[in-house]
Amino acid sequence: MPLLTTQSAKGYGFSSLVATVSAIGSPAYESIATTTIGSGGQSYVEFGSIPSTYKHLQLRATMMCSSVNNMYVQVGNGSIDTGANYSWHQLYGNNTNFFSNGGGGASFGYVGYNYNTSYPNPSIIDFADYANTNKNKTWKALAGSDVNGSPSYVQIWSGNWRSTSAINTIRITPGSGTFTQYGSFALYGIKG
Protein backbone atom coordinates (compact mmCIF):
# COMPACT_ATOMS: atom_id res chain seq x y z
CA MET A 1 0.00 0.00 0.00
CA PRO A 2 1.25 3.46 -0.67
CA LEU A 3 2.73 5.43 2.09
CA LEU A 4 2.67 9.13 1.71
CA THR A 5 3.80 11.72 4.10
CA THR A 6 2.56 15.08 3.01
CA GLN A 7 4.22 17.90 4.79
CA SER A 8 5.30 21.32 3.87
CA ALA A 9 8.49 22.86 5.06
CA LYS A 10 8.52 26.42 3.87
CA GLY A 11 11.52 28.44 4.68
CA TYR A 12 13.62 31.34 3.59
CA GLY A 13 17.06 30.88 2.24
CA PHE A 14 19.30 30.62 -0.80
CA SER A 15 18.39 29.38 -4.23
CA SER A 16 21.95 29.29 -5.43
CA LEU A 17 22.09 26.18 -7.60
CA VAL A 18 18.46 26.16 -8.67
CA ALA A 19 17.85 28.11 -11.83
CA THR A 20 14.84 30.05 -10.64
CA VAL A 21 13.91 33.64 -10.21
CA SER A 22 12.42 34.59 -6.93
CA ALA A 23 12.16 37.60 -4.76
CA ILE A 24 14.95 38.06 -2.29
CA GLY A 25 14.10 36.26 0.95
CA SER A 26 11.42 33.96 -0.52
CA PRO A 27 11.99 30.20 -0.69
CA ALA A 28 12.68 28.74 -4.15
CA TYR A 29 13.42 25.10 -3.27
CA GLU A 30 10.99 23.52 -0.85
CA SER A 31 10.46 20.09 0.59
CA ILE A 32 7.02 18.72 -0.29
CA ALA A 33 7.01 15.21 1.16
CA THR A 34 9.34 12.49 2.37
CA THR A 35 8.94 8.79 2.94
CA THR A 36 11.36 6.32 4.49
CA ILE A 37 10.80 2.61 4.06
CA GLY A 38 10.17 0.71 7.26
CA SER A 39 11.02 -2.83 8.26
CA GLY A 40 8.00 -4.25 6.48
CA GLY A 41 9.06 -2.99 3.06
CA GLN A 42 6.84 -1.44 0.43
CA SER A 43 5.71 -2.53 -2.98
CA TYR A 44 5.87 1.02 -4.35
CA VAL A 45 6.17 4.64 -3.29
CA GLU A 46 3.60 7.19 -4.36
CA PHE A 47 3.41 10.94 -3.90
CA GLY A 48 -0.10 12.28 -4.31
CA SER A 49 -1.85 15.62 -3.99
CA ILE A 50 1.24 17.38 -5.29
CA PRO A 51 0.48 21.09 -5.32
CA SER A 52 0.65 22.89 -8.66
CA THR A 53 2.28 25.96 -7.21
CA TYR A 54 5.85 25.09 -8.20
CA LYS A 55 7.56 25.31 -11.56
CA HIS A 56 9.49 22.03 -11.45
CA LEU A 57 9.81 19.02 -9.21
CA GLN A 58 12.82 17.03 -8.10
CA LEU A 59 12.63 13.59 -6.56
CA ARG A 60 15.77 12.47 -4.71
CA ALA A 61 15.88 8.86 -3.65
CA THR A 62 18.12 6.23 -2.16
CA MET A 63 16.52 2.94 -3.05
CA MET A 64 17.04 -0.32 -1.21
CA CYS A 65 15.63 -3.32 -3.06
CA SER A 66 14.71 -6.90 -2.27
CA SER A 67 15.59 -8.17 -5.74
CA VAL A 68 17.68 -7.10 -8.70
CA ASN A 69 15.34 -5.17 -10.91
CA ASN A 70 14.52 -2.10 -12.93
CA MET A 71 12.70 0.93 -11.60
CA TYR A 72 9.48 2.21 -13.12
CA VAL A 73 7.94 5.67 -12.95
CA GLN A 74 4.31 6.48 -13.59
CA VAL A 75 2.51 9.78 -13.16
CA GLY A 76 -1.00 11.09 -13.31
CA ASN A 77 -3.58 13.69 -12.45
CA GLY A 78 -5.85 12.44 -9.72
CA SER A 79 -4.83 8.86 -10.36
CA ILE A 80 -1.84 7.13 -11.87
CA ASP A 81 -2.03 6.73 -15.64
CA THR A 82 -1.39 3.05 -16.42
CA GLY A 83 -2.10 3.43 -20.15
CA ALA A 84 0.43 3.15 -22.96
CA ASN A 85 1.25 6.83 -22.78
CA TYR A 86 4.90 6.79 -21.82
CA SER A 87 8.18 6.72 -23.72
CA TRP A 88 11.74 6.57 -22.42
CA HIS A 89 15.41 6.54 -23.35
CA GLN A 90 18.49 5.52 -21.50
CA LEU A 91 22.25 5.76 -21.74
CA TYR A 92 24.31 3.77 -19.29
CA GLY A 93 27.76 2.41 -18.65
CA ASN A 94 28.83 -0.71 -16.87
CA ASN A 95 32.25 -2.20 -16.36
CA THR A 96 33.49 -1.97 -19.86
CA ASN A 97 30.84 -0.75 -22.24
CA PHE A 98 28.14 1.78 -22.72
CA PHE A 99 24.65 1.13 -23.96
CA SER A 100 21.72 3.09 -25.26
CA ASN A 101 18.14 2.02 -25.47
CA GLY A 102 14.62 3.38 -25.69
CA GLY A 103 10.99 2.55 -26.00
CA GLY A 104 7.61 4.09 -26.75
CA GLY A 105 3.98 3.28 -26.25
CA ALA A 106 4.80 1.93 -22.83
CA SER A 107 2.66 1.86 -19.72
CA PHE A 108 5.50 3.27 -17.64
CA GLY A 109 8.84 5.02 -17.92
CA TYR A 110 12.12 3.81 -16.49
CA VAL A 111 14.32 5.58 -13.99
CA GLY A 112 16.62 2.73 -12.98
CA TYR A 113 18.21 -0.38 -14.43
CA ASN A 114 19.52 -3.48 -12.70
CA TYR A 115 19.33 -2.03 -9.21
CA ASN A 116 21.15 -4.23 -6.74
CA THR A 117 20.10 -5.69 -3.41
CA SER A 118 23.31 -5.20 -1.44
CA TYR A 119 23.94 -1.46 -1.58
CA PRO A 120 21.87 1.71 -1.91
CA ASN A 121 20.81 2.75 -5.40
CA PRO A 122 20.76 6.54 -5.73
CA SER A 123 18.48 8.36 -8.11
CA ILE A 124 17.69 12.01 -8.88
CA ILE A 125 14.69 12.66 -11.13
CA ASP A 126 13.75 16.09 -12.44
CA PHE A 127 10.22 16.74 -13.68
CA ALA A 128 10.20 19.87 -15.78
CA ASP A 129 7.21 22.23 -15.85
CA TYR A 130 5.07 19.48 -14.37
CA ALA A 131 1.91 21.56 -13.88
CA ASN A 132 1.75 23.21 -17.28
CA THR A 133 -1.47 22.18 -19.04
CA ASN A 134 -0.26 23.32 -22.46
CA LYS A 135 2.38 20.67 -23.00
CA ASN A 136 3.15 17.02 -22.55
CA LYS A 137 5.33 16.20 -19.58
CA THR A 138 8.98 15.21 -19.56
CA TRP A 139 11.60 14.25 -17.00
CA LYS A 140 15.24 13.32 -16.78
CA ALA A 141 17.10 11.19 -14.30
CA LEU A 142 20.62 10.43 -13.15
CA ALA A 143 20.89 7.13 -11.34
CA GLY A 144 23.28 4.36 -10.47
CA SER A 145 23.96 1.01 -8.91
CA ASP A 146 27.49 0.44 -7.61
CA VAL A 147 28.07 -3.07 -6.26
CA ASN A 148 31.76 -2.74 -5.45
CA GLY A 149 32.45 -4.86 -8.47
CA SER A 150 30.86 -6.08 -11.62
CA PRO A 151 28.49 -5.14 -12.99
CA SER A 152 28.07 -1.65 -11.63
CA TYR A 153 26.08 0.94 -13.48
CA VAL A 154 25.64 4.66 -13.89
CA GLN A 155 22.62 5.69 -15.93
CA ILE A 156 21.04 8.68 -17.61
CA TRP A 157 17.33 8.52 -18.35
CA SER A 158 14.70 10.62 -20.06
CA GLY A 159 10.97 10.10 -20.11
CA ASN A 160 7.81 11.47 -21.60
CA TRP A 161 4.18 11.30 -20.55
CA ARG A 162 1.92 12.13 -23.46
CA SER A 163 -0.64 14.14 -21.56
CA THR A 164 -1.16 17.84 -21.04
CA SER A 165 -2.65 17.24 -17.62
CA ALA A 166 -0.79 18.61 -14.68
CA ILE A 167 1.11 15.98 -12.74
CA ASN A 168 -0.14 15.71 -9.19
CA THR A 169 0.71 12.06 -8.57
CA ILE A 170 4.03 10.24 -9.01
CA ARG A 171 4.63 6.57 -8.38
CA ILE A 172 7.94 4.70 -8.31
CA THR A 173 7.71 0.92 -8.52
CA PRO A 174 10.37 -1.78 -8.57
CA GLY A 175 9.96 -4.16 -11.49
CA SER A 176 10.08 -7.05 -9.07
CA GLY A 177 10.27 -7.47 -5.34
CA THR A 178 9.85 -4.57 -2.97
CA PHE A 179 11.57 -1.56 -1.55
CA THR A 180 13.28 -2.52 1.68
CA GLN A 181 14.11 -0.85 4.94
CA TYR A 182 16.12 2.36 5.09
CA GLY A 183 15.37 3.39 1.54
CA SER A 184 14.18 6.98 1.33
CA PHE A 185 12.34 9.16 -1.16
CA ALA A 186 12.08 12.95 -0.95
CA LEU A 187 10.06 15.20 -3.25
CA TYR A 188 10.99 18.84 -3.65
CA GLY A 189 9.29 21.72 -5.39
CA ILE A 190 11.24 24.38 -7.26
CA LYS A 191 9.60 27.73 -7.77
CA GLY A 192 9.97 29.82 -10.88
Binding site: L17, G93, P122
Partner: protein, 165 residues
Amino acid sequence: MAVTYEPIQSYTTTGSQATVTFSSIPGTYTDLVLQGSTRRGINGAGDAGWNLIFNGDSGANYSVAMLYSGGSTGGTGKNNFFYTGAVGDGVFCANTMSIMNYASPSINKTALTHSFVYGNGSPAIDTRVFCNLWRSNAAITSITLSPASGFWDGSVLTLYGIKAA
Protein backbone atom coordinates in the same frame (compact mmCIF):
# COMPACT_ATOMS: atom_id res chain seq x y z
CA MET B 1 11.73 29.03 9.42
CA ALA B 2 13.28 25.81 8.10
CA VAL B 3 15.66 26.21 5.21
CA THR B 4 15.56 23.47 2.58
CA TYR B 5 18.61 24.21 0.44
CA GLU B 6 21.42 26.22 1.95
CA PRO B 7 25.17 26.69 1.70
CA ILE B 8 27.27 25.09 4.42
CA GLN B 9 30.85 25.93 3.47
CA SER B 10 32.60 27.41 0.49
CA TYR B 11 36.23 27.60 -0.54
CA THR B 12 38.09 29.53 -3.17
CA THR B 13 41.61 28.22 -3.49
CA THR B 14 44.62 30.49 -3.49
CA GLY B 15 47.84 29.71 -5.23
CA SER B 16 48.24 26.03 -6.02
CA GLN B 17 46.41 24.27 -3.23
CA ALA B 18 46.93 20.58 -2.69
CA THR B 19 43.84 19.81 -0.63
CA VAL B 20 40.46 21.21 0.27
CA THR B 21 38.64 19.86 3.33
CA PHE B 22 35.08 20.44 4.42
CA SER B 23 34.92 19.63 8.10
CA SER B 24 32.42 19.58 10.94
CA ILE B 25 29.59 18.94 8.50
CA PRO B 26 26.36 18.98 10.52
CA GLY B 27 24.16 15.91 10.37
CA THR B 28 20.95 17.89 10.11
CA TYR B 29 20.43 17.67 6.35
CA THR B 30 19.24 14.84 4.13
CA ASP B 31 21.58 15.17 1.16
CA LEU B 32 24.68 17.18 0.40
CA VAL B 33 25.48 18.84 -2.91
CA LEU B 34 29.07 19.75 -3.75
CA GLN B 35 29.26 22.24 -6.57
CA GLY B 36 32.65 22.95 -8.06
CA SER B 37 34.45 24.98 -10.66
CA THR B 38 37.89 23.45 -10.50
CA ARG B 39 41.16 23.46 -12.36
CA ARG B 40 44.39 21.50 -11.88
CA GLY B 41 47.30 22.91 -9.97
CA ILE B 42 49.51 22.32 -12.95
CA ASN B 43 48.76 21.30 -16.50
CA GLY B 44 49.65 17.89 -17.77
CA ALA B 45 48.47 14.43 -18.47
CA GLY B 46 47.28 12.17 -15.72
CA ASP B 47 44.32 11.73 -13.48
CA ALA B 48 41.81 14.55 -13.69
CA GLY B 49 39.50 13.64 -10.83
CA TRP B 50 38.89 15.10 -7.39
CA ASN B 51 40.22 12.06 -5.48
CA LEU B 52 37.74 12.53 -2.67
CA ILE B 53 37.58 10.76 0.71
CA PHE B 54 35.13 10.89 3.60
CA ASN B 55 35.96 11.23 7.28
CA GLY B 56 39.65 10.79 6.53
CA ASP B 57 39.11 7.21 5.37
CA SER B 58 41.91 6.40 2.95
CA GLY B 59 41.24 2.68 2.97
CA ALA B 60 40.14 0.65 -0.04
CA ASN B 61 36.49 1.27 0.76
CA TYR B 62 35.42 3.13 -2.34
CA SER B 63 34.19 2.10 -5.75
CA VAL B 64 32.83 3.79 -8.86
CA ALA B 65 30.80 3.22 -11.97
CA MET B 66 31.35 5.82 -14.63
CA LEU B 67 30.19 6.75 -18.09
CA TYR B 68 32.08 9.23 -20.20
CA SER B 69 32.10 10.60 -23.70
CA GLY B 70 34.99 11.70 -25.81
CA GLY B 71 35.30 8.39 -27.53
CA SER B 72 35.61 6.30 -24.42
CA THR B 73 33.28 3.79 -22.93
CA GLY B 74 32.03 3.22 -19.46
CA GLY B 75 34.18 1.90 -16.69
CA THR B 76 34.31 0.94 -13.07
CA GLY B 77 36.97 0.89 -10.44
CA LYS B 78 37.85 0.28 -6.84
CA ASN B 79 39.98 2.80 -5.06
CA ASN B 80 40.87 4.24 -1.73
CA PHE B 81 39.04 7.40 -2.74
CA PHE B 82 35.98 8.48 -4.72
CA TYR B 83 37.08 8.82 -8.31
CA THR B 84 34.73 11.63 -9.24
CA GLY B 85 34.63 15.27 -10.26
CA ALA B 86 37.04 16.96 -12.60
CA VAL B 87 39.90 19.42 -12.64
CA GLY B 88 40.90 20.79 -16.01
CA ASP B 89 44.00 21.93 -17.82
CA GLY B 90 43.76 25.64 -18.39
CA VAL B 91 40.00 25.72 -17.78
CA PHE B 92 37.79 25.46 -14.76
CA CYS B 93 35.58 22.37 -15.03
CA ALA B 94 31.95 22.35 -13.91
CA ASN B 95 30.95 19.71 -11.40
CA THR B 96 27.85 18.83 -9.44
CA MET B 97 28.01 16.02 -6.93
CA SER B 98 25.04 14.83 -4.87
CA ILE B 99 25.85 12.81 -1.76
CA MET B 100 22.72 10.96 -0.79
CA ASN B 101 21.51 10.34 2.78
CA TYR B 102 24.96 11.23 4.03
CA ALA B 103 24.02 11.18 7.71
CA SER B 104 22.09 7.91 7.82
CA PRO B 105 23.68 5.42 10.25
CA SER B 106 21.92 2.52 8.54
CA ILE B 107 23.22 2.42 4.99
CA ASN B 108 26.41 2.74 3.00
CA LYS B 109 26.90 6.08 1.27
CA THR B 110 26.40 6.78 -2.41
CA ALA B 111 26.86 9.77 -4.69
CA LEU B 112 25.97 10.85 -8.19
CA THR B 113 28.17 13.30 -10.07
CA HIS B 114 28.10 15.02 -13.43
CA SER B 115 31.31 16.65 -14.57
CA PHE B 116 32.89 18.34 -17.54
CA VAL B 117 36.50 17.34 -18.00
CA TYR B 118 39.19 19.22 -19.89
CA GLY B 119 42.50 17.45 -19.72
CA ASN B 120 45.74 16.94 -21.48
CA GLY B 121 45.30 13.27 -21.95
CA SER B 122 43.11 11.22 -24.16
CA PRO B 123 40.34 12.23 -24.39
CA ALA B 124 41.20 15.87 -23.95
CA ILE B 125 37.62 16.92 -23.40
CA ASP B 126 34.70 14.87 -22.23
CA THR B 127 31.62 14.82 -20.06
CA ARG B 128 31.35 12.23 -17.33
CA VAL B 129 28.77 10.88 -14.93
CA PHE B 130 29.69 8.86 -11.88
CA CYS B 131 27.94 6.67 -9.35
CA ASN B 132 30.13 6.15 -6.30
CA LEU B 133 29.87 3.92 -3.24
CA TRP B 134 31.59 4.30 0.13
CA ARG B 135 31.19 1.08 2.07
CA SER B 136 30.60 2.63 5.45
CA ASN B 137 27.50 3.33 7.50
CA ALA B 138 29.19 6.22 9.28
CA ALA B 139 27.63 9.64 8.93
CA ILE B 140 29.79 11.84 6.76
CA THR B 141 31.29 14.66 8.79
CA SER B 142 34.20 15.64 6.57
CA ILE B 143 35.04 15.63 2.87
CA THR B 144 38.60 15.96 1.61
CA LEU B 145 39.52 16.52 -2.03
CA SER B 146 43.10 15.93 -3.13
CA PRO B 147 43.41 15.90 -6.90
CA ALA B 148 46.73 14.97 -8.44
CA SER B 149 48.63 18.25 -8.85
CA GLY B 150 46.19 19.99 -6.49
CA PHE B 151 43.84 22.85 -7.32
CA TRP B 152 44.69 25.90 -9.38
CA ASP B 153 44.29 29.36 -7.92
CA GLY B 154 40.65 30.41 -8.05
CA SER B 155 39.04 26.98 -7.94
CA VAL B 156 35.70 27.23 -6.16
CA LEU B 157 34.02 24.48 -4.16
CA THR B 158 30.74 25.06 -2.34
CA LEU B 159 28.97 22.54 -0.14
CA TYR B 160 25.19 22.77 0.19
CA GLY B 161 22.77 20.94 2.43
CA ILE B 162 19.32 19.80 1.31
CA LYS B 163 16.82 19.08 4.00
CA ALA B 164 13.72 16.99 3.45
CA ALA B 165 10.56 17.50 5.44
